[in-house]
């Protein structure tokens, strides 16, 4: 990783530092709330989920769409980098920014499930799939933001990816081979788990590679 890439990635962390801290704090507060009681669990996990989803959307919007809209993109592109460098740095920089709260909050959810006796460990595979899904979902939003300058298209991408979280919870949560083990005392790592995880990994790979082949090869950067 060259010096320019490092500096520009550091710039992303600096500019989004309060968003990272705020989202992490909100998600951790959600986990703290979720620790006790069924009702509190629902409210806490909803807060946790919202913090991760909203952070991803805001990060992509502020880091790419707003930079373009507020014309800071011209300043960035006046620096000694090519459009390909820009796309690569944005992908790495914003993904790393996202990974900080995502990793902390995902680990927090896993710890919560493991240490709270009132929460069955059977929830663990589903929780991990949900975390993986949110990471893949963020990569789709990031990919969308790098490909379109249209606010309308971006709004559609955000609505669809947000709806996908709800659909994921209901549809994947209803898959019998996963649902049957949610209340089990020990986690079950069966084929259904690995298939869904593989699908998430594939989505993540496609969404993160597509900008290298399309956005980075555009003839006009502005």
């Amino acid at each position: 990783m060259n010096m320019l890439t490092r500096k520009l990635i550091a710039k992303e962390f600096y500019l989004h530092r309060w968003l990272i801290v705020g989202s992490t704090a909100a998600g951790l507060a959600g986990l703290a709330i979720a620790a006790e009681g069924a009702m509190r669990f629902n409210i806490g996990m909803l807060t946790w989920l919202t913090a991760i989803i909203a952070f991803g959307v805001m990060l992509a919007m502020l880091g790419i769409a707003n930079e373009r809209k507020e014309r800071a993109l011209q300043f960035v592109l006046s620096l000694p980098l090519s459009p390909g460098d820009y796309v690569r740095i944005k992908l790495i920089g914003l993904l790393l920014c996202y990974l900080v709260p995502w990793a902390i909050l995902s680990a927090g959810a896993v710890v919560l499930l493991l240490v709270r006796p009132n929460l069955p460990d059977g929830l663990l595979p589903f929780a991990l799939l949900l975390c993986g899904f949110m990471l893949a979902n963020f990569s789709v939003v990031l990919c969308g933001a790098l490909h379109t300058a249209s606010e309308g298209v971006m709004t559609i991408v955000i609505i669809v990816t947000n709806m996908n979280v709800t659909l994921f919870i209901f549809l994947v949560g209803a898959v019998p081979s996963l649902n049957d083990h949610l209340h089990a005392a020990a986690p079950v790592w069966n084929d259904a788990f690995w298939i869904v995880l593989a699908a998430e990994a594939a989505t993540l790979s496609i969404a993160l590679s597509l900008p290298y082949f399309v956005a980075a090869r555009r003839r006009d950067s502005i």
Binding site: L4, A72, Q74, S78, P83
Partner: protein, 296 residues
């Protein structure tokens, strides 16, 4: 020994849905300040975006500091300071943060010069960019570009949002940059007063086409308005190099782009006055003449 031109554009074409930049060729030599003048929508920003690699030409060749654009833009931009009136910095970061950020990317960053510019432009390094006025913002962007001591400065309407005092400060600073004979500036504007003040070469562009390009002094020497008084009904002979001819009763005003004493001698006693033209008058006359010649 041949020196590398700082900007070379050869037969460049770039088409959009409602606008086409057509067959643009221009050169900027080291040490020159080129005023790139055109009305709104003439193609100045498109040309500059082609020079800075932000756009790819549909045809033709663009070379900046010897590098083919846009392919080698990452290398070329190490030595280009680009400032545009619609370029914005990061609103939630301070002027000082931007200085440290740019300094960390450019080995040629001159901290003493940056400090002097901050003082001269009356900027406050701890202030957030979102709190800057538009004039302060332009001066901050210029300071960031100047302090890295680029070989080539490309300025797209940098003075358009500035008050007269700020414009004076900025233009004075740009004149200072040119003390180093290897540095050059391309300065786009529709404000011909600014361009006339600092440029030594002028390029006029209109409706996506290059209208004229020459040394400033050459423009100012060649262009004249000649007022004649002739008896009503007199038909003037065809004269070479006439850009326009406007008759008002017995008075006829001729505009020429090849003024010479021979022309005055030829017109004889009918000549009442010969006016030197300002760059703005030359620009307007030139543009209108080319539009007529193209039947627009």
């Amino acid at each position: 020994m041949t020196t590398t031109k700082h900007i070379e554009m050869r037969n460049v074409r770039k088409a959009f849905r409602f606008f086409t930049l057509e067959d643009l060729s221009l050169d900027l030599e080291p040490g020159q300040i080129m005023g790139f003048v055109g009305p709104n929508g003439a193609g100045k920003s498109t040309s500059i975006r082609l020079m800075t690699g932000l756009l790819t030409p549909d045809a033709g060749e663009v070379r900046v500091l010897g590098h083919a654009m846009p392919d080698a833009q990452a290398i070329a931009k190490r030595d280009i300071g680009f400032v545009s009136d619609d370029m914005r910095l990061f609103g939630h970061a301070s002027v000082g943060w931007h200085m440290r950020f740019v300094a960390s990317l450019y080995p040629g960053w001159d901290p003493q010069y940056a400090k002097a510019l901050v003082k001269r432009f009356n900027l406050r390094i701890e202030q957030n960019v979102s709190g800057l006025s538009s004039g302060e913002h332009v001066k901050t962007v210029l300071m960031l570009a100047l302090a890295r001591r680029p070989r080539l400065l490309i300025l797209d309407e940098p003075t358009s949002g500035l008050d007269p005092v700020a414009r004076h400060e900025v233009l004075t600073e740009l004149m200072d940059v040119l003390r180093d004979e290897d540095r050059s500036i391309l300065f786009s504007s529709h404000n011909t007063v600014d361009v006339e003040r600092i440029s030594d070469r002028i390029t006029f562009i209109d409706r996506g086409r290059l209208v004229d390009s020459n040394d400033k002094e050459d423009f100012l020497e060649r262009w004249r308005r000649i007022q004649l008084q002739v008896p009503a009904g007199t038909t003037l002979p065809d004269l070479p190099h006439l850009v326009s001819r406007v008759a008002d009763g017995q008075f006829v005003t001729l505009t020429t782009n090849r003024f010479s004493k021979d022309l005055v001698a030829f017109l004889g006693s009918s000549v009442r006055e010969v006016h030197r033209m300002s760059l703005e008058e030359i620009f307007v006359a030139n543009v209108m003449h080319h539009r007529e010649a193209r039947g627009e």
